[in-house]
């Protein structure tokens, strides 16, 4: 059963990403103002949305863990935090590449960018915390509490950074990009492909964690070796 779902997720995300790459380069028209660079947008948007979703999963699973005390919620939270952090890294990288031609600089302390960076630091801390607690039950509890604290602080950070910037004259205005229908369709396909990719990775990572646990159990049954 598990393999079956995993296989579907794998093929969906593989085909989805191949199709999106084709659509990005051969179907969507080249942007009139920004040129070829605009192509990065189709992957930038999915990687911008996915970390939020991944960290929302961490938050919900953290609450569920504290409430139900079932190990699987902790495992899902861990898996989602790791994948979210990786995709957030991709977001920061594509973001800086995208910034240079559009705004002329690699980095702007703009609310969305800054929030992604703070989010990165929050969940890097989350994973460091997990590594720093040896005992399993305690690790899960601490991680769950920090998973809740971290996620709640994200929207407040976003608001504060926005106010911090907008009380000043806005130098860099992210100009709204006018999208042609084929562009919208392409980005939509990319979004779905990426979502499946996230689910695929998540399931793989959860399976890995349970596998690890199985090995530990086997070791124990062999006499603590």
């Amino acid at each position: 059963m598990r393999d079956w779902i995993q296989r579907i997720l794998f093929w969906f995300s593989l085909i989805g990403i191949i199709v999106s790459i084709f659509m990005v380069f051969f179907y969507a028209p080249i942007d009139r103002n920004l040129g070829i660079v605009q192509k990065i947008f189709y992957f930038h948007l999915p990687v911008a949305i996915t970390p939020y979703f991944a960290f929302l999963v961490v938050f919900v699973c953290s609450i569920l863990f504290l409430w139900k005390r079932e190990r699987r919620w902790d495992v899902i939270a861990l898996a989602s935090a790791e994948i979210g952090l990786v995709i957030d890294t991709a977001l920061l990288v594509t973001g800086t590449i995208w910034d240079k031609p559009t705004w002329g600089v690699w980095w702007v302390w703009e609310p969305r960018l800054t929030t992604s960076l703070i989010m990165w630091l929050l969940y890097a801390g989350y994973l460091l915390l997990r590594r720093s607690v040896g005992e399993e039950a305690r690790r899960a509890r601490f991680a769950a509490v920090y998973g809740i604290v971290a996620f709640i602080s994200v929207p407040i950070s976003f608001m504060s950074i926005r106010w911090w910037r907008t009380l000043h004259p806005l130098v860099f205005k992210p100009t709204g990009i006018e999208l042609e229908p084929p562009m919208i369709f392409t980005v939509f396909v990319c979004l779905i492909a990426f979502f499946f990719f996230y689910l695929c990775l998540l399931r793989q990572r959860i399976g890995l964690e349970f596998l690890k646990e199985g090995i530990e159990d086997l070791k124990d049954s062999l006499g603590g070796g």
Binding site: G125, R138, W163, L167
Partner: protein
């Protein structure tokens, strides 16, 4: 009422212990001064008289000192086995949380009140005392948030292998909104001779943050001190 008295008992215990050892406060005060001096060397005279920019220096010094103090909140309890005694007390876990947070709030505030005049002498040439009460309000609101988040995270970090190293890593990214709001409002207050209207936005931000994180601490602290 009983609830409040229990909280104050823990606060009283912490204050008594601190007055006897003076361990935390002394190092926090010296640390704040050191940070201010180091900033002076790092930035030269660029910030002298530039009130808005020097507010940043002030808050970095305060936050670092706060982390130093927050790291110690549970150290004695943990090292000398008092945490078990505290947990055996027939009180709700949230009483321990509020007691500890209130004690940290007092310690941090005292350190800041001592450091503030020195900061003014070092960095600000023209001082506008007209809005001093507003500055005190900013300090209180910020410290409530720092103590609420810091106490919760301190209880977590004390139980990790990395201990002191863990707290800043967990604490700083969460405290970003406080830092932004405190720096902005302090800058506005010390550079303006009249009531700065813009400061209200930041006071509201601080208040919202405080309410949310007091609630989060209240709800989650019992899971941190469990076993």
């Amino acid at each position: 009422m009983n609830y409040l008295r229990r909280i104050l008992t823990i606060v009283g215990k912490d204050i008594a212990a601190e007055i006897r050892t003076k361990e935390m406060m002394n190092s926090m005060i010296v640390f704040v001064l050191l940070t201010l001096v180091i900033f002076n060397f790092a930035f030269g005279e660029r910030f002298e008289g530039a009130a808005e920019a020097s507010a940043g220096i002030l808050w970095v010094a305060f936050l670092f000192a706060a982390v130093l103090g927050l790291n110690r909140v549970f150290v004695h309890e943990k090292d000398e086995g008092c945490l078990d005694g505290l947990m055996l007390c027939p009180v709700d876990r949230s009483v321990i949380y509020f007691g500890k947070a209130l004690a940290s709030l007092i310690f941090i505030s005292v350190v800041e009140l001592i450091a503030l005049p020195i900061f003014a002498i070092f960095f600000i040439r023209t001082i506008f005392l007209a809005n001093l009460w507003l500055l005190i309000l900013v300090l209180i609101l910020s410290n409530v948030g720092i103590a609420a988040v810091g106490t919760l995270l301190s209880a977590i970090s004390i139980n990790t292998k990395a201990r002191d190293l863990m707290l800043p890593i967990l604490f700083f990214p969460v405290i970003v909104p406080i830092l932004i709001a405190a720096v902005k409002s302090t800058g506005l207050i010390i550079s303006s001779p009249s009531f700065p209207e813009d400061v209200l936005v930041w006071l509201r931000m601080l208040a919202i943050y405080d309410i949310i994180f007091i609630l989060v601490g209240f709800l989650t602290f019992e899971y941190v001190l469990e076993e």
